[in-house]
């Protein structure tokens, strides 16, 4: 700690140079934060998906008639079927976005056990047509309490009576354990369907709970053949496949990210190493003075590494911080497909990577500092 002013002053000896290097390195960490953040979100979404649940939807995203539900229930191996109709909503301001799922509360919670809501809350919601359950994150975000009457604007679901503002009453809370930071509202499908202008009697997709995950392929095929000759066909697959298909349509994201980041970090290493080497070369005399004053060879080497660590650490904080701020913008641009927050693991891995770069790039100058001959470096010629 007491060496901090010394290390800091060494770092900023040449302000422009250090600033340029820092900004350049920060870009590398910014990219890391963005790419790893996106990749992490994809993995998180895919990882939370179940293999004992099937998603059945129309490949062209046409809404399914609710009548399909009865037929799917008859397929052997099916334990239960429910539906979820998702829409984007906003509270008071367009910027306050949240997800609104219209559900059947009798089935939904048993099919989605990771969504936790007290039974009393589930009952209250069921009994009140306009009743809703709000996620804990939404309640925190907007300061909602049980009994609050609020209005949610859902632009994609206009009302028969006109406009798109839906009055709702908060009956309780739900805990979305798999995406705790996403603001979500659960409303009664019956209420939505009765009052909406178009699409009555349809749902976006069916969720099928099956008894044996090993038979998911066969059951999916059986469901699809029920409707293969209808105007609205279905494609049924496990939730996991569905999530992966949604998000990895553009290719093997993980591989690309790692390939690009390898190239970027390699260049970063060279950049920082070059900067440190140059800095050390021009400060040989100062390091010799430190040795003359009694700093041991090892200590001087550690000072060099510490300077490298400070440089890389600062760059990482700037770059990762920037990514943290930009990711939510990306999330908004993709319509909430990607979570708006950078997973903390990305931050830790980023800092760890920064320290590794510091060690690797500082190794040679530190070695030179350790071996520096005091008399040579101090000689006036």
């Amino acid at each position: 700690m007491k060496y901090l002013p010394l290390i800091w002053s060494g770092l900023w000896r040449w302000r422009t140079r250090t600033t340029m290097t820092l900004l350049s390195a920060a870009m590398a960490f910014f990219l890391f934060g963005m790419l790893k953040g996106v990749d992490g979100s994809i993995k998180q979404l895919a990882g939370a998906a179940h293999i004992d649940r099937l998603i059945s939807g129309n490949p062209a995203l046409l809404p399914l008639p609710l009548a399909y539900l009865r037929e799917v229930e008859q397929v052997p191996g099916v334990a239960a079927v429910t539906y979820a109709n998702a829409a984007m909503g906003s509270y008071q301001k367009p910027a306050n976005r949240l997800f609104v799922y219209a559900i059947d509360p009798r089935q939904y919670f048993s099919i989605y056990p990771e969504t936790v809501a007290a039974h009393s809350d589930q009952d209250s919601m069921r009994r009140n047509p306009a009743g809703i359950l709000v996620s804990l994150s939404a309640a925190r975000m907007f300061g909602w309490k049980r009994g609050d009457r609020i209005t949610i604007h859902m632009g994609s679901v206009p009302r028969e009576a006109g406009g798109a503002d839906w009055p709702m009453e908060i009956m309780g809370f739900c805990d979305y354990t798999t995406s705790p930071d996403t603001p979500i509202i659960l409303m009664n499908y019956a209420y939505l369907d009765a009052a909406r202008l178009s699409g009555k009697g349809t749902v976006q997709r069916l969720i099928v709970l099956i008894r044996d995950p090993g038979r998911s392929g066969a059951i999916s095929g059986a469901v699809d053949s029920l409707f293969a000759n209808s105007p609205i066909t279905t494609r049924t697959e496990t939730e996991k496949d569905f999530a992966q298909a949604q998000l990895s349509q553009i290719g093997d994201v993980g591989f690309f990210v790692n390939a690009i980041m390898s190239a970027v970090f390699f260049t970063l290493l060279l950049l920082v190493a070059n900067s440190l080497l140059r800095s050390f070369r021009e400060r040989r005399r100062e390091f010799a003075v430190l040795k003359a004053l009694g700093f041991s060879d090892g200590k001087v080497a550690v000072l060099v590494i510490a300077e490298a660590a400070m440089l890389c650490g600062l760059s990482a904080l700037v770059g990762l911080g920037l990514a943290r701020g930009v990711l939510p913008l990306l999330g908004r641009a993709t319509g909430g497909l990607l979570p708006a927050l950078m997973p903390p693991s990305v931050l830790f891995v980023g800092i760890a990577a920064a320290m590794l770069v510091a060690l690797a790039s500082g190794a040679i100058p530190a070695w030179r500092a350790q071996r520096l001959s005091i008399a040579d470096a101090l000689s006036v010629h």
Binding site: L6, G10, L290, L293, G294, S296, L378
Partner: protein, 230 residues
């Protein structure tokens, strides 16, 4: 603290290309504690080398060097560095201050190596800056100080760990006459406070401030100064 320096048969060689040049030839020297010794001689006579050896900045190729009875020619690098921190203060011709540290932080550097609290360090730094007469300039950077002031900061840095021996290499080489006299006066004061001082200089007037003068030529001590155009 006072110091005894003894050099016995000290040899130092340098390799230049494929040649080996002997810079110090079987040098013998004894410095009494509390002495203010001036080492004079033409450039290339080996006086800076001798100073470096006394201060443990370099190792001899032969002979013994004892400072206060300790064989510093045999000390391993780690303990030698620690020994330097405790016992030696260096003063260079071009000050060798850290340009991006304030005067106070520059002076503080040797204290970072000791287990002192922040408050203790601050106290000693302030005290020693007062001794050199720079009490009010603690927060100035070297670029904001004159040559003489910078050398005072360097002297303060050399004093702050309270070493017994001050080694000066051309301390007034870069200063004008008046400022040089001030610095030499300061060194005399420190000598009277029982610091042993060995000063390398080519300036006869500087040497006048010392209590003893020794001459070197071609790597050995000579009894008479050679008449040379310097």
């Amino acid at each position: 603290m006072t110091s005894d320096i003894v050099l016995k048969n000290v040899v130092k060689r340098y390799r230049r290309g494929r040649e080996q040049i002997e810079v110090l030839h079987h040098l013998n020297l004894a410095v009494t504690a509390g002495d203010f010794l001036a080492l004079m001689g033409p450039s290339g006579s080996g006086k800076t080398t001798l100073l470096n050896l006394i201060g443990g900045l370099d190792r001899p190729d032969g002979g013994e060097i004892l400072v206060e009875g300790e064989r510093i020619d045999r000390m391993p690098p780690g303990p030698l560095a620690a020994w330097r921190a405790r016992n030696i203060g260096f003063i260079f011709q071009f000050y060798n201050l850290m340009p991006s540290l304030t005067a106070a932080r520059n002076v503080e550097l040797p204290l970072l190596l000791a287990p002192l609290s922040k408050a203790d360090r601050r106290q000693r730094v302030d005290a020693v800056l007062d001794i050199v007469g720079l009490g009010g300039r603690a927060n100035h950077k070297p670029s904001q100080l004159s040559g003489g002031e910078q050398q005072r900061v360097a002297i303060a840095r050399a004093l702050v760990a309270d070493p017994g021996l001050l080694l000066c290499d051309e301390p007034t080489g870069d200063l004008d006459r008046a400022t040089a006299d001030d610095i030499l006066g300061l060194l005399q004061v420190l000598n009277h406070r029982s610091k042993t001082i060995v000063m390398v200089t080519h300036d006869a007037r500087a040497a006048e401030h010392a209590s003893h003068v020794l001459h070197m030529d071609k790597g050995a001590l000579v009894s008479e100064p050679r008449d040379m155009a310097l």
